[in-house]
Amino acid sequence: MLRPSLTARAFGAAAGLLLAVGLYLGLVMVPPDAVQGDVQRIMYLHVPSIVTAYLAFSVVFCTSILYLWKRDLRFDAVAVASAEIGVIFTGITLATGTIWGKPTWGVWWTWDARLTLTAILFTIYVGYLMLRSFAEDPQAGARYGAVLAIIGFLDIPLNHFAVYWWRTLHQPSSILRAGGPSVAPAMLVPLAVNFVGLVLLYSYLLLERVRLERIRHRSAELRLKRGRRG
């Protein structure tokens, strides 16, 4: 428990290697976009980040349902760990999106449906983490958190379809769309490599963050035992 598992270490090493290759491909090898020029290279971080954030919140959604069903704090430990990492990836998506928006749209931020729903997603899960940190009873915190996480997850399909349902400045999906990706195959390679790299990094961070929860639970148990004895 006090050392990272072999699986975590393998995920971490593979993530580092893949991200180095993906960055080299995206920043050096792939030609600039015909319309946007070099600035489009931000896509190789922006798109894999939001897809990884969606994956992280999907894990929060599933483990929150499992927690409410089984009342097992191990599911809750995975949920809270995944939510924290999902917030980091959503923050990266928002930051890289605004940086990409300035040279392409002329503004850092606009209250476009896609951008607003991503900001709401970020706020929901920051709120989830705050709720968890303020709760004095772990079971009550886990229960309220699970309900918030399940409701908050509804933002993701809404966010995905926002570019089709409303008139937005943000372009429609270029990867997850009917008829296949609209991105040139040469650009798909660094996107895919960075996506796999970020998923491996997420897996590494998740295993480590869950390990932290396990250590904390064990410490809490020992403190409780000591309190009973004393």
Binding site: T96, L201, L205, R223
Partner: protein, 47 residues
Amino acid sequence: MGSWGFIGLAYGVGLVALLGYFLRLKGRLRDAGEELTGLERDGGRRT
């Protein structure tokens, strides 16, 4: 700021966020591990 300035800023923000989170997590793991070791040692002495 030119295109590469925006690219550097975007990747820089991503790197700082991920590296910052990773280092913070390592620090929390170290602190929690030290606390658990202390509690286990203390519990061992009592029994």
